[in-house]
C-alpha cells in the first residue's frame, strides 16, 4: 500500500529508523523530508543485476590471465586478410553512431565514441593511452565535463591495463573560454602527488586532463586549473603554470595505441576491424589474437599456425600514423580473445628501441 500512514515502520530493513547525531540534528522538517524522499522511491523495485555485475567484473580480471596464441587449421593458414592504413583524422572518431533520428527512448540516446586518456605501462615507462568510451553525444563544456568524469576514478578505464592518476571528486567544474579551458578542482587531494607515483608519471596525470579535455572539444586549448577561487600552482604534486599547454614531447603518448575494438567488444559478425595509431613511422604493425589459456597445457597453443598478421603500409601517403586491418574471425569458436598489437619502436619516441604493445580483449559470439 502506497503511501503508508505516517506511523508505518520504514519499509527498508537497512534504513535506520532514527539515526540521531546530537551534533547534527535534522529537526521536524527533516523528519518530514525523510518521509517524503523515502516515499518518492519506495516503489522503485530495481531489477536484479548481480549476474551482470559478476559477468563484467569477471571480464575485468582478464588482465592477469595467461593468454595463448590462437592456433588455426591449415586450411585457414593460407587465407589473406585485407588491411590498410588510414590517416589519423579518420581514426579519431571511432565507432560513432551519428544517427540524427530523434531518440525514442533512453535506450536509443545518441552515443558517440569519446576519447579519454589514461596512463598505462610500456617498456620505456608509463605513457598516455587513448581509450574510446561510448558516451552520450555532447558538445562544448558538457562534452569536457562528461569526459573528465571518466578520468575520475569513479568512471575510469574499461581496459584493466590502464589507470587514472586522479582522486575521486577531483573535477568540480569546467568552463571554456576563447583561449583556455578552466577546470576547477574540487578536492585537496588533487593538488598532491598520489602515493606511489613518480614525478614523471604525475606529469602524465596532468596531461590526462589536457589531452582528454582538448579531445572533447576537438581543439588544442591550454588548461587552467583553479582551486578555492585561485589558480592552482600545484596539481598532482606537479608545479604548473597558470596555463598548461598540451605536452607534445616525444615521450607522452604510447608508441602504439589501439582505437578499435573497444575493450570487451562483443563481435557478432565474421570480421573484426582493428585500427589504431602509432607515434613513430614504423615499418609495420603486427597483431596477434590470443585465447585465454586456463589449463596447464601451456605449450599446446604454441607452434605452427599462430593466428596473427602484419600491417605494412605507407603512412606517408595519408600523412598520418594510423594502421588498420580486418581480421577474419570465421574460424574462431565463441569465447573470449585478446588482440595484441605490437610495434618495434625505432627509438624516435622512446629512450630504448624495442617492442611496444597495446592489447584489447573481445568476445566472439
Amino acid at each position: 500500500m502506497v503511501p503508508g500512514p505516517p506511523s508505518d515502520p520504514r519499509r527498508d530493513g537497512d534504513h535506520p529508523v532514527d539515526p540521531v547525531d546530537p551534533d547534527d540534528p535534522i529537526g521536524p522538517d527533516g523528519t518530514a523530508l525523510r518521509r517524503l524522499l523515502d516515499e518518492a522511491v519506495a516503489d522503485v523495485r530495481p531489477a536484479d543485476r548481480l549476474g551482470e555485475i559478476r559477468r563484467r567484473t569477471a571480464q575485468r580480471r582478464r588482465s592477469g590471465r595467461r593468454w595463448l596464441p590462437v592456433v588455426v587449421g591449415a586450411g585457414v593458414a593460407t587465407a589473406a586478410v585485407v588491411g590498410g592504413v588510414a590517416g589519423l583524422g579518420s581514426l579519431s572518431s571511432g565507432p560513432t553512431d551519428r544517427d540524427d533520428a530523434p531518440a525514442a527512448s533512453p535506450g536509443t540516446q545518441l552515443v558517440q565514441a569519446t576519447a579519454v586518456y589514461f596512463v598505462g605501462d610500456t617498456p620505456d615507462g608509463p605513457r598516455l593511452f587513448r581509450e574510446f568510451q561510448p558516451l552520450p553525444a555532447e558538445a562544448a563544456v558538457d562534452a569536457i565535463d562528461q569526459a573528465l568524469s571518466r578520468v575520475d576514478p569513479t568512471g575510469g578505464p574499461a581496459d584493466p591495463d590502464y589507470r587514472t592518476l586522479w582522486p575521486a571528486g577531483a573535477f568540480a567544474d569546467v568552463t571554456v573560454g576563447s583561449d583556455r579551458i578552466t577546470v576547477t578542482l574540487g578536492s585537496e587531494e588533487a593538488l598532491d602527488r598520489p602515493a606511489g607515483v613518480s614525478a614523471r608519471e604525475a606529469r602524465l596525470g596532468v596531461q590526462q586532463v589536457v589531452y582528454t579535455a582538448d579531445a572533447a572539444v576537438a581543439r588544442t586549448l591550454p588548461i587552467a586549473f583553479e582551486h578555492d577561487g585561485a589558480p592552482a600552482r600545484r596539481v598532482l604534486g606537479v608545479e604548473v603554470e597558470e596555463l598548461i599547454e598540451r605536452d607534445r614531447q616525444y615521450d607522452v603518448l604510447s608508441p602504439v595505441n589501439v582505437s578499435d575494438p573497444a575493450e570487451g567488444t562483443v563481435v557478432e559478425g565474421d570480421v573484426l576491424r582493428v585500427r589504431g595509431t602509432t607515434t613513430e613511422s614504423v615499418d609495420s604493425v603486427t597483431w596477434q589474437v590470443e585465447t585465454a589459456g586456463g589449463t596447464d597445457d601451456v605449450q599446446q597453443g604454441i607452434g605452427a599456425g599462430t593466428f596473427g598478421g602484419e600491417v605494412t603500409e605507407t603512412p606517408a601517403e595519408t600523412g598520418g600514423m594510423g594502421w588498420e586491418a580486418d581480421i577474419d574471425l570465421t574460424h574462431l569458436d565463441p569465447g573470449e580473445y585478446r588482440l595484441v598489437v605490437t610495434v618495434r619502436g625505432t627509438g624516435q619516441t622512446t629512450d630504448r628501441p624495442g617492442r611496444y604493445r597495446d592489447t584489447r580483449t573481445f568476445v566472439v559470439r
Binding site: 505516517p6 518518492a40 543485476r49 555485475i53 533512453p106 575521486a168
Partner: protein, 206 residues
Amino acid sequence: MRATTVTSYAALPALAGTVPASRVVTDRSRADGSRLDADEGIEQLYLVHWDRMVRLSVLLVRDQGVAEEIAQDAYIAVHQRWDRLNDPDRALAYLRQAIVNRSRSALRHRGVVQRYLARQSAPADVPGSDEKVLGDARRELVLDALRQLPRRQREVLALRYYMDLSEAEIAETLGISRGAVKSHASRGAAALRPILDELGPDVRGA
C-alpha cells in the same frame, strides 16, 4: 586510401611466453575476520545496498532504467578498486560517491529522457486503486520538485534525508565544505517546503 596487406599466419613468433603468469590467488579465510576479496565484497555490497543505491540514483536522475545502469557501473568501479579501498566502510563511501558522480554526468543528457517521459506521462500502472494513483501523483510531485532544484541542492537533500548521512559525510562525498552542505541543505529544504505544506500531516507526522 587503402593499401592491401597480406597477412602471414605462422610467420610470427609466439608471444605467449612474454605474457605475465596468472594472478596470485590467495586463500583468505573468513573465520579469522580477514578481508573479503573483491567478488565477495561486491556481493555483500550488492545484497545489502543495491536497492538503496538505485533509489538514490532515481532521486538524482529520476529515470529508473538510467539509475540501474549508473548503479551497475558504480559497483563495477568499486570492484576495480577493491584492493585499494581496503575496508568495507571506505568501499561503501566510494560506492555512494560513484553513484552521485555518475548520476551527475547522466543528467547531462536528461533532455532525451525528459522527452521520453513526456510521451509516456500517463501512469503505466493498471488503474483501479485510488490510493495507488494518489501515491503516483505524490511521487511525481516530489521527483519533479527535486529535478527542478540546482544540482548541488538535490544531491545534498538526497544524501541527507534519504541516505541519512551526516553533514561531514556529505561534505566528503561531494568534495565541498560543511558550510556549503548546510547552505545547500537549507535552501533545498526551503524549496521543498511548499510540497511539505501541501501534503501536510501525511508527511509531517501526527
